[in-house]
């Protein structure tokens, strides 16, 4: 018996929800970043599942581009973390409050 594609989509939705919870509730900057990567992965899984269902390889190619963009984003984001850490000696996002009123 073959696995219905909706199960993959539901799993991807669950991963996305878990990633969102992580991104919204964590204080550590790196943990927020990890949750964002989890959300990107959930989106990738959705794309590949639909590529399989519609028998169109475009989904896989979009995943290819998403991965490249995620790599670029991770590199720049972590470089920014290092730059912020030099100034503030922390990456706790609750402490990045210079512009608050």
């Amino acid at each position: 018996m073959s696995v219905p594609i909706s199960w993959y989509l539901l799993l991807a939705a669950a991963l996305f929800a878990i990633g969102t919870i992580g991104a919204l509730t964590r204080r550590n900057g790196i943990s927020i970043f990890l949750s964002i990567e989890l959300m990107l992965n959930a989106a990738n899984l959705t794309l590949v599942a639909y590529a399989r269902q519609m028998d169109d390889r475009t989904g896989q190619l979009i995943v290819f581009f998403v991965m490249a963009v995620a790599a670029a984003e991770a590199a720049v984001g972590l470089a920014l973390f290092i730059a912020v850490f030099r100034q503030r000696h922390t990456i706790d996002v609750n402490r990045m409050n210079l512009m608050r009123w």
Partner: protein
């Protein structure tokens, strides 16, 4: 058989993603992310995309997460201290929201049903066909992504650089520190110990002075 494999890797992905989001130590969270990426790569292969699965391990698990680990070790990120009080209701709201979201998605999928998918053939998973499509229809996005990666490399190198005199021109006054009077040094370079001579000074200077 396919259902068994799917169930195994789906459970692995869900379990390790929950660990990513909840564990206090960032190193454990990162290593759980590797496990999640592995499980998702296996699901990609099950969905007839072995190239994307191999790329996932090569790029995501083999490079991006290593970058995360490096930065965690460089900045010596500690375990997150448990916050004071206001986390309980926040977490419960998040979980309830997630359950509602999943319930809605489940309802949508149950109502729309899944069409039967044709079994995978050697042609549908072939790398040659994928590559042909990538380099003909999607050539422009491919080149643009290459340019994007170049820009990201340059940007990351510039952003993480130690600030030199040129970068300090626009600064006026003391930047805000968190705790009292900390000396204005680069936290990524250790402070020189006033009681030990620095390495650059030759030892014979003491004798001749």
């Amino acid at each position: 058989m396919e259902t068994l494999i799917f169930a195994l890797f789906a459970a692995l992905a869900l379990g390790s993603s929950i660990v990513v989001v909840t564990h206090k130590s960032p190193i454990y969270a990162t290593l759980s992310l590797v496990l999640t990426l592995f499980a998702v790569a296996a699901l990609f292969v099950l969905l007839g995309a072995p190239f994307v699965g191999a790329l996932q391990i090569l790029v995501y698990a083999g490079a991006i997460v290593v970058l995360f680990l490096f930065v965690i070790m460089l900045l010596n990120v500690q375990k997150e201290e448990t916050a004071h009080g206001s986390r309980g209701p926040q977490l419960w709201t998040a979980i309830v929201g997630a359950v509602v979201f999943l319930g809605m998605m489940g309802l949508v999928f149950w109502r729309s049903g899944s069409p039967a998918v044709p079994p995978l053939t050697a042609e549908s998973v072939s790398l040659k066909a994928l590559a042909r499509e990538l380099f003909s229809t999607y050539l422009l996005p491919f080149e643009i992504v290459g340019l994007l990666l170049l820009v990201a490399v340059i940007g990351a190198t510039v952003a993480a650089r130690r600030p030199d005199a040129l970068d300090r021109i626009g600064e006026g006054g003391e930047p805000e520190y968190l705790s009292g009077d900390e000396p204005r040094t680069d936290p990524l370079k250790s402070l020189p110990d006033p009681h030990r001579p620095s390495v650059a000074e030759p030892a014979y200077k003491e004798a001749t002075s």
